[in-house]
Symmetry: C2
Subunit: 456 residues, 2 copies
């Protein structure tokens, strides 16, 4: 066993290294392509879902609905019932999108022929993937799988994706970091408000599109898409966050969280110094604002990879940049008061390693977004990461139910910490004899600072 | 002489009426045309300038430079010297843009053949006018009159204006109130940050442009303009503010300010209950951030009609919506701290009649922008309206010098108040015997509330 001071120093250095690599990332949206052509390890029968690993038999309603939609879209099944039988028969392999360098929003399931965004971290040339935002409310990512949804997916695959691909290749890509940074001065927090990002992207591409060999009709389709979905840019942001966080993964001794994700039944995290292992707990319910026709009863538990934004210091962590988000305009309002929004950001500085020099919050005197969730700080303070998120319906075939706020479950951090002390053979007396109590739950913190947990 | 309570009641009612008419305005950008074809009373030798009335011989440098540019652009003069001789000879008639239902930004002078924006208040069908933003730094509105500027003006007249005209007519206009309202949740304050407005406008028009009979080249020119001047929409905002404020003008007994404007030597205001009369004082110097090569020595005193935005509750009055404005990014940063910016807005509630239900500030719990400057409240509190503004160079032919903050001179409000008590025969004992001291400068306010002036 190592001495505590020495291990503390090692963890400190490792965390600084992990976060420095994250901050050095330059995520650029470089292309779009068919998922099966670009996502590593993707086979014709692969279905990528949000969150930690999930089997079809335990899958929440909207994720099932999305999987049915995939089989219909791919031409394997003619309807939901047939798709359900094929999935029950085990003819398809489910895997977390995260384990294939990808992200999937809400209940989205990504199949072989779906068009995907490709974001490259130009600092290390690694590429990351996501489906594209297909509609505002009625969409595969909320479990819709009707004719409207399948038709929209085809339009994205056949019209939108080739057009964006041509344009992005011509332009040499669009730097998402620049767009996100600017949008934080324009009321976006990157998870539920992406309005400035969507506009800024449109502004960035239009002259080049008109100078390219894209047809007028193709450009019109893109302009229409970027007008009708004001939060279109969300998945480019999520993929950029994935690229950024991945740059800080697998740093020995680092206690920084590199992934938070939910599959509608479980919430899972990964930690830099613990590789690709998931640490899970039951997915919590989201407190939020509901669209007409929906109540909390109709809501699926917390779901989707979109909290990759919070993991990267955006979303709920950046709500002080986005006071308007508390109101319910279109799909973006998450409820609460403006002072709550500001306090969430302030609170997140308590559990994070650093402040992002590129992503600043003007209202907090240009302080950088709180970034790099440290599992030790989470356990020491008792502060759970805040997430603002859309709410999926419980039943497949319905549209978005609402939007709201949720905390990452403490259980994930506790499990990760237990694995961390075990992996690095850290002397932590409480854990050996009694794995029950949380570090910091006693009189003093893990590091002996005497800092009390929240609520004590 | 009327009794004080009765007059107080009358003024209260009149102010509520004036502001209600302002709030009911629906400014819509409906068209572009040649100034001479649409601005009322515009003759071939008319030159419209910013601020209160001005003669050529007293004109500040940049306004002279802009007037020279007008004569070159119109083909009357081959260069600045010839233009100067013609202007000295009195061959042209100067008039305030404001007195022709128009606004002119900074040192801009509007001549017969210039293209102008047309904004209609669709509540009363009245139309208002402004030149279009021609460039970011080197522009007629800062006194530039070289080949670059003349060429840019021609491009605006021959390419941009006809294209926007066709598009706006096809679309039935673009509602500026909606764009401004939305932009206040996106970090704009409408005077020095118009980035969200510019993007939102682009987003609103692009599909329609691509469906119109505009040529691909015409659309490309518009997209290029809206990409290269991120604050393009400023003059649409100013004209919208003019349309809004004009709806509240000439209300008997109203002490609400309907115009604030500066010509580089004088600052002038108009008051609803006092008709079209200007009340002026020397234009103050602006405290601000300077571009490389410029110092406070190089700056012209406060100049331009752009503070119509503050008169309408935007700009300096809405800075709490726009914390990023204190930084010097491109031409928008005005200096100071974020808390200053927020406090300016809070302070302006002290001197205004109402809070705009359409223009809200999310950060202040969605409070409406402070709107309807009341000259009596200005004098009672000693609080001068805050303005954030670009800084013009003192010498003609240079580019924008910087941006900063300035207060409207108290002298204007004092003169207006003297005229107000005279016009409405209000018993105000101090004034009769001693016009020197300001109302409220003594022990009690004009209304006897005992409220102290600032700094007492």
């Amino acid at each position: 066993m190592e001495k505590k001071d020495s291990i503390k120093e090692r963890i400190k250095e490792a965390n600084a290294k992990a976060v420095a690599a994250m901050f050095a990332a330059q995520p650029v949206w470089v292309d779009m392509a068919k998922a099966g052509d670009v996502i590593p390890g993707m086979k014709k029968n692969t279905l990528l879902h949000a969150g930690p690993p999930q089997e079809y038999k335990h899958m929440c309603g909207p994720q099932r609905g999305a999987a049915w939609g995939c089989l219909i879209f791919e031409g394997y099944a003619k309807d939901a019932e047939e798709a359900h039988r094929m999935l029950e028969a085990g003819e398809f392999e489910f895997a977390p999108a995260h384990d294939h360098d990808a992200v999937a929003g809400a209940a989205q399931v990504v199949s072989y022929s779906q068009p995907v965004i490709i974001v490259e971290n130009q600092t290390n040339q690694k590429r990351y993937y996501s489906h594209v935002k297909e509609d505002t409310f009625v969409a595969l990512r909320y479990g819709s799988h009707g004719e409207h949804t399948i038709k929209k997916l085809r339009w994205l695959a056949e019209v939108v994706s080739p057009a964006f691909s041509k344009l992005l290749r011509k332009m040499g890509g669009i730097n998402c970091k620049d767009i996100i940074a600017k949008s934080l001065f324009m009321g976006d927090e990157g998870h539920n408000r992406n309005q400035a990002e969507t506009c800024l992207f449109l502004q960035a591409i239009m002259p080049a599109a008109l100078e390219s060999d894209l047809s007028r009709e193709e450009i019109r389709e893109l302009a229409w898409l970027l007008q009708h979905d004001e939060n279109f840019f969300l998945y480019q942001v999520m993929t950029s966050c994935k690229a950024m966080l991945d740059a800080g993964k697998e740093v020995e001794y680092s206690s920084i969280v590199t992934t938070m994700a939910r599959n509608g039944t479980e919430f899972g995290i990964k930690v830099s110094g613990l590789g690709d292992r998931w640490f899970t707990a039951p997915a919590p319910k989201v407190k939020g604002l509901y669209f007409p026709g929906f109540t909390e009863e109709d809501a699926c538990p917390d779901l989707g990879d979109s909290c990759i934004t919070e993991t990267a210091g955006l979303g709920g962590f950046a709500m002080a940049a986005s006071p308007a988000i508390v109101h319910f305009g279109t799909a973006t309002g998450v409820g609460g008061s403006v002072s709550d929004a500001i306090n969430y950001t302030k609170e997140m500085y308590e559990i994070t390693e650093a402040e992002n020099p590129s992503y600043q919050i003007a209202y907090l005197d240009f302080r950088g977004c709180p970034t790099g969730i440290d599992i030790i700080k989470v356990l020491d303070t008792g502060i759970q990461p805040i997430i603002n998120t859309s709410i999926s319906p419980k039943k497949p075939g319905r549209s978005q139910a609402g939007a709201g706020l949720v905390r990452a479950p403490m259980e994930c951090f506790k499990k990760a910490f237990e694995a961390f002390v075990d992996r690095y053979q850290i002397a932590y007396p409480h854990l050996a004899s009694n794995p029950g109590p949380l570090p910091g739950a006693g009189r003093a913190s893990f590091w002996g600072s005497g800092k009390r947990r929240k609520g004590e």
